[in-house]
Amino acid sequence: MPAFVLLTVLTAIRILSRNRLRAGLTMLGIVIGVGAVIAMVSIGEGAKAAVAKRVASMGTNVIMVLPGSMTTSGVRGGQGGAVTLTISDGMELKKRIPMLSEVGWGKRDTMQIINGNKNWSGLVNGISPSYLTIRDWSFSSGGAFTQQDVDTADRVALVGQTVVENLFDVGEEPVGAIIRIKNVPFRVIGVLSPKGQSSQGSDQDDIIFIPFSTAERKVFGTQFLGSVGALFASTERLEDLTPAAAQIRDVIRARHRLQPDQEDDFTIRTQVDIGKVQESTSETLTVMLFAIASVSLLVGGIGIMNILLVSVTERTREIGVRMAVGAKRRHIVMQFLIEAVTLSVVGGCLGILVGILGARVTTAIAGWPTIISAETVMAAFVFSIAVGLFFGLYPANKASRLNPIDALRYE
C-alpha cells in the first residue's frame, strides 16, 4: 500500500504538472481562500492580543465605579445628578467589604501644564495612593507619593511618558524638576512606566498624577469637597471580582438610600466585563472571517471538483486500461482523491505563503499588529486536505464506478 500511495502521488504530480496553467487556475480559488483566511486570522489575532494587552494594562482584578446611571445602549449618562460618588463611599466600601484588597479613587481634568518655556495640555488626575497599586502603575524613575503627602496636600506630581516627551528636553531629568499646573508649582517625584493605549484606545501615558487632596484644594477648585470622578477597587482573586462588584452595588445603593424600584445612580464595571465587550467584537470578526473562508474554500473546492470531472472524462480510457489490468474500485478512487488532495494541498501551501506575506504587508503598511500562529497554519493545511478530499470524492467515485469495458470503449 505505501508503494501504491507514493507512486500515485508521483503520478498525480506528473499529471498536474503536465498542464500547469490548468492546475494553477484550479488551485487559485484555494490559494486565495487560504491566503485570505491566514491573513485575516493573523490580523484578527494580532488585534485580539493588542486588546488583551490593553485590558491587562488596566491593572489586576479591577472594579470601577462611575457616577451616573447607564443607559441601555451602554452609554453612561451625564454626571448631572446631584448625587455623586464620594471619598466616604470609597472608605465605606473598604470597611464593609473584606474581599476588596484595595480601594482608591481619582478625579481628573485637562489642565495647562508648564515647564520652563514648554507647555502641554494634559490630563491631571488627583488620586489616592492606592489607585497606583490597583491600576498596576510602576515607575521608570523616582517613586509614588504617600498617604502623608495626601494628608498634607503636598504639591508633588508623577508624570507619564507622553507628558515627559512633551514637557522635557531629551536627556533632561524630570524627577526633581518643578512644573506648574494651572500656575501652581509642583515637584516631580516620579516618572511612570509606559502603559500604551487603554481598552478604549486613549493614550494612558498622557497623564499626571497628583495627590487627591492637593487636586481638590489647589488645582480643580471643587465646590463639593470629597466628590470623586471614579472609585476603583481590586480583589486578590479573579473569582471574587463579580461577587465583590455585587457587594459594592449593595453598599453604595444603601448609602445613596435608593429604593428597590429605583435604578442605580452609578455604574459598576469590572475588568472581566470590559474584556467581554472586547471579546464579543473580535467574535463578530471571527464569524465574518469564517464566512469569507467558507465561501472562498467552497469556490476553490468546486473548482477542483470541476477540473477532476473533466479529467475523469478525458481519461476514461486510461481508467478502463487500469481496470483491465486489475485496478479495483478503491485504487481508482484513491488515484483521483490523491490528485484532488495534491491540488488542494499545493494550493493550500501557496495560500499559506500568500497569507503570511499579506499579514507582513499589512503590518508594514497599516501598522496593524498581526500574529501568525502555528495553529492557524496547521488548521489551514488540514482544511485544504479536507477540501480536496471532500470535493474529490464525487469525481473519484464516479470514475471508480465505470464499467471496465465501457471505459475501454469510450471515444
Binding site: 508503494a3 481496470m323 489490468v325 486489475g326 479495483k328 474500485r329 469495458i405
Partner: protein, 239 residues
C-alpha cells in the same frame, strides 16, 4: 483434464432503445489449459464480445462462464479485478498503453495494483520487457515507440504477472506484416515454452495458422471448431 475455460449457453444482448442486438446467442465453449486458439469470423460475429466476457471485462446477459472452475457470474467487481490481475493478460488491437507514461511503468501497472514492492515491480517489468525484446527501451514513452514496439510493451504488461490465460483481440490488426510476425513469434513462444493458454482473435489466416485450434464464429455462435495441428491432441472442446 479440467477445462480452463468453460462457457454454457452464453448470451449477450445489447439494447439500444427499441433495437435489440444479440451479439452472442447461446454459445458453448471449452478450452483446456495450454491451448493456443484462434477465433475467426466475419465482422460483427461477436468475437470481441466473447473475448471481453472471457477476460472478465464484461458480463454475459445470460449463461454461465467458469474460469478455472470459478463461476465468474457470481463474482463482485473487485473479485473480477483480482482475476484480471492475477490470471488474465489482455492484449488489445489499439495497444491501450497509458499515454505519457514510460514503457517500464506501463509494464509495471498490473504489479502496481497487486501491491508488489516497487523494487520487485521494476525487476519483473524489466524482465518482461526483455522477453519481448525491448531491453533498453524502458524509459521510452508510447509516442516514442513504433506500433509493433507498443504492442510488445502491451504484451510485456500482460505477461508481467505470469498469467495462465492470455487474451489477444486482433493484436496485429494495426501492424504491418513484419511486426505482426514478431508479435506472433512472441505469443507462440509463450505458449510453447511457458504453457500459457492463448486465445487470439484475427481476421488473417496466416496469423490464425500459429494456433493449434481454430474457431470460426458466425452470428454469435460457433460455426466451426477444429484442431489445425496435431501436436497436442487434447480432448475436443465439444467432446
Amino acid at each position: 483434464m479440467a477445462a480452463l475455460i468453460r462457457c454454457e449457453d452464453l448470451w449477450k444482448i445489447y439494447r439500444l432503445g427499441d433495437v435489440e442486438v444479440q451479439a452472442l446467442r447461446g454459445l458453448n465453449l471449452s478450452i483446456a489449459s495450454g491451448e493456443f486458439v484462434a477465433i475467426m469470423g466475419s465482422s460483427g460475429s461477436g468475437k470481441s464480445t466473447l473475448m471481453n466476457i472471457l477476460g472478465c471485462l464484461d458480463q454475459p446477459t445470460r449463461g454461465r462462464y467458469w474460469l478455472n472452475d470459478v463461476d465468474a457470474a457470481g463474482l463482485r467487481a473487485d473479485q473480477l479485478a483480482d482475476i484480471r490481475n492475477r490470471q488474465i493478460g489482455f492484449v488489445f488491437q489499439n495497444f491501450n498503453l497509458i499515454p505519457r507514461t514510460s514503457a517500464l511503468e506501463n509494464a509495471q501497472l498490473p504489479l502496481f495494483y497487486r501491491g508488489v514492492s516497487l523494487r520487485e515491480q521494476r525487476v519483473l517489468a524489466t524482465e518482461a520487457l526483455c522477453r519481448v525484446g525491448l531491453q533498453g527501451r524502458e524509459g521510452h514513452y508510447p509516442t516514442q515507440l513504433s506500433g509493433g514496439q507498443q504492442q510488445r510493451v502491451a504484451i510485456a504488461r500482460a505477461l508481467v504477472t505470469a498469467p495462465s490465460l492470455l487474451l489477444a483481440d486482433e493484436p496485429t490488426g494495426n501492424l504491418d506484416t513484419e511486426s505482426s510476425r514478431e508479435i506472433m513469434a512472441i505469443l507462440d513462444q509463450l505458449n510453447k515454452e511457458q504453457g500459457i493458454t492463448i486465445i487470439l482473435v484475427t481476421h488473417e489466416t496466416d496469423i490464425a495458422a500459429y494456433a493449434e485450434r481454430e474457431i470460426v464464429m458466425k452470428d454469435g455462435r460457433i460455426l466451426t471448431d477444429r484442431h489445425t495441428k496435431s501436436t497436442v491432441s487434447l480432448s475436443g472442446p465439444e467432446a
